[in-house]
Amino acid sequence: MNLTRRGTFALGAGFAALTLLPATGARAAVEDSIAAFTGGAEVADGAGITLTTPEIAENGNTVPVSVAAPGAVSIMILATGNPNPDVGIFTFGPLAASQAASTRIRLAGTQDVVAIAKMADGSFVRAVNTVKVTIGGCGG
């Protein structure tokens, strides 16, 4: 097989497209979930929300996570590396003493866990934690 300069470039571009496609697909699902929750509003990073996750989770089937955002109306949790990135939405009522909750979630592999809080004034804040997973939790 003769490899011309032009042919090599074309091949390279083809491979790049192939390897990038699945990644952009998953990212689009995450973006869609965020857009559905925020309605397209801007999400600020950092202050006002605390996401607590283990640094390393041995078993991806049950990873303890806690999230706290004083003054939040609701909090959404996303697992960016799962086949379906949605994890859950916590909506706090008038009798909630603190806008905080803990639960256990499934993670398919090492990935970023994202929490987005909707504040009472309509703004959004985000926290991101990376969790290393030794054994994935989505079966096969």
Partner: protein, 109 residues
């Protein structure tokens, strides 16, 4: 209806008026995600609890939308304010339409 679904809830028996209490809930449920396949390669249909609510005397404390990424035997821990004596009502909604309920009374002394 899934078999052997048994909700377990931990709420203090008494509290002071306006006190913050911690509530822990657990319900045994397979939370089948719909992603897994059985031994012959057929996908196992999704069956999860898709919503959990906690109310106190009819006022909402917490309302959670669950997705398949919540672990088997969904567990929640959260805090509530108790303004008066009354009853906490916990409700879990299954994909198959079943509703599991439990109540827990608390006395303000």
């Amino acid at each position: 209806m899934a078999e052997d679904v048994k909700p377990r809830v931990r709420v203090p028996k008494t509290a002071a008026a306006g006190e913050t209490i911690v509530i822990k809930t657990l319900i045994n449920h397979v939370m089948e995600s719909g992603q897994r396949k059985d031994s012959s390669g057929n996908p196992i249909p999704r069956q999860i609890i898709n919503r959990f609510t906690c109310e106190f005397n009819g006022q909402m404390v917490l309302d959670v939308t669950l997705e398949p990424a919540i672990s088997t035997n969904p567990y929640f821990e959260f805090e509530a304010v108790v303004p008066e004596s009354g009853e906490f009502k916990f409700t879990w909604y299954d994909d198959d339409g079943s509703v599991y309920e439990t109540t827990e009374a608390i006395t303000v002394g």
